[in-house]
Assembly symmetry: C2
Homo-oligomer: 221 residues x 2
DNA sequence: TTTCGGTATACTGTATACAGTATTCAGAGC
DNA sequence: GCTCTGAATACTGTATACAGTATACCGAAA
């Protein structure tokens, strides 16, 4: 028989709500001053409170929202200290992926990475969000290539959180082109085949990102 | 005024259920053949299905459980491939902590780490679970000392999952003492003050753990 | 005007009720 | 005995109802 089993993939309403909330946060429709109230969201989405609640609790567990003691969920704030920690975590995850890729040093993989970078750097007059998305795509390509599902999961967690914290808002004033231009050098580092070199180059790249970020914050009033 | 604000800390029933489930999994009361059904658990705990459901969904999101298509949640299984990936992720996280600690190279911190190790290695006739717990405590001490909340969070995620997968079941047959004995050398590596050295030593330590683990699996029928 | 007290309001957390779907099992037909 | 069909069962997912608690508001007393 040639028929494939239908993977029902029972998508829950809660997942849908979660996605919508994430999108709304990313597109700044939900800001730091908004209060997310279960009943109101449920009414707006025309569903019951139960799945809404599940989505909100999940975002709370992920550190994106927190429950205001006056009721309602709000966006979590991030301190400069925590921002540093987030970048350190990034360095850990992406640095390890770099070590894995360098150890393999597969020419086909390297070629594909370069193609992905070229594709994503083709931005004419990019907005901050475009920049953020392109940068994320490029870095995620490295992670996918490394092929470790746990590292990839953590990568998504970190970037998701960065997004939720509106971290990119601070980059408004930085030199976007400068920050986006150095990705080919990362592949160069992988192609040395030396894990330590790859790690150092990736770590430095992320460190640069952090410093650009801090500059952005400090230039913003 | 010297009074502290009372942080109500509204603990939810769902959190309580979550903890109980995690404990039950760790102590092997819940095995791979058990089916966790919302109604039954709720009845057993004498609460409604709602918080039970929340806890189960959270464990599902964490990859500990999965929804069997015949209904009911079961423990997720892990392949040898995934086990490798889990150890790679560990190396990323703990390796980065090592880099941070080595860069600081604070004598007070090093002293405290050694004390923690000594404390945890004092095991007379340890069971596999004792070993697992001690090992985890020691490694977690390094993470706490590094002081990065995201890295710590990921550490807990990884070890939580390892626990859920009953990963330590495979170590039943391995030489426990051999595996527990090398932690002081980790502190030695930190005290070189060299981040690359620290990283390599930690990574190698974790790699050793992985190989011991594989040996264990392969010797188990 | 400020402070106190109490009631109304708003919101979450928990319980229960309802609907839909996949699985199981018993019985009819062969 | 074996296969097919359909009803019963056992679940989850979603909606709604209920309870408790914290905040806001408003009016009275100092």
């Amino acid at each position: 028989m040639a028929l494939r089993s239908i993977t029902t993939q029972r998508r829950r309403l809660a997942d849908e709500v979660y996605d919508q909330l994430v999108n709304a946060i990313m597109s700044r429709e939900i800001g730091p001053d908004d209060r997310l109230v279960q009943e109101k969201l449920a009414a707006e989405l025309d569903i019951s409170r139960t799945p809404v609640r599940e989505a909100l609790l999940r975002l709370e567990k992920e550190g994106v929202l927190h429950l205001a003691n006056s009721g309602g969920f709000r966006l979590a704030k991030i301190s400069e200290e925590e921002t540093l920690e987030l970048y350190q975590a990034r360095a850990a995850i992406e640095g390890q992926a770099a070590r894995i890729l360098a150890a393999r040093n597969d020419p086909a993989e390297m070629k594909q990475l370069r193609a992905t970078i070229r594709e994503n750097e083709k931005l004419s007059n990019p907005s901050t969000q475009d920049y953020f998305a392109a940068n994320r795509s490029i870095h995620r390509a490295f992670m996918e290539m490394a092929g470790n599902r746990f590292l990839l999961e953590m990568f998504d967690m970190i970037w998701g959180r960065a997004m939720a914290f509106h971290l990119f808002a601070a980059i408004e004033n930085t030199d976007i082109a400068k920050s986006l231009g150095n990705h080919m050098a990362l592949v160069d580092a992988l192609e040395t085949g030396d894990r330590a070199t790859a790690l150092e180059v990736f770590t430095a790249h992320i460190q640069d990102g952090f410093e650009l970020h801090l500059d952005g914050i400090r230039r913003t009033p």
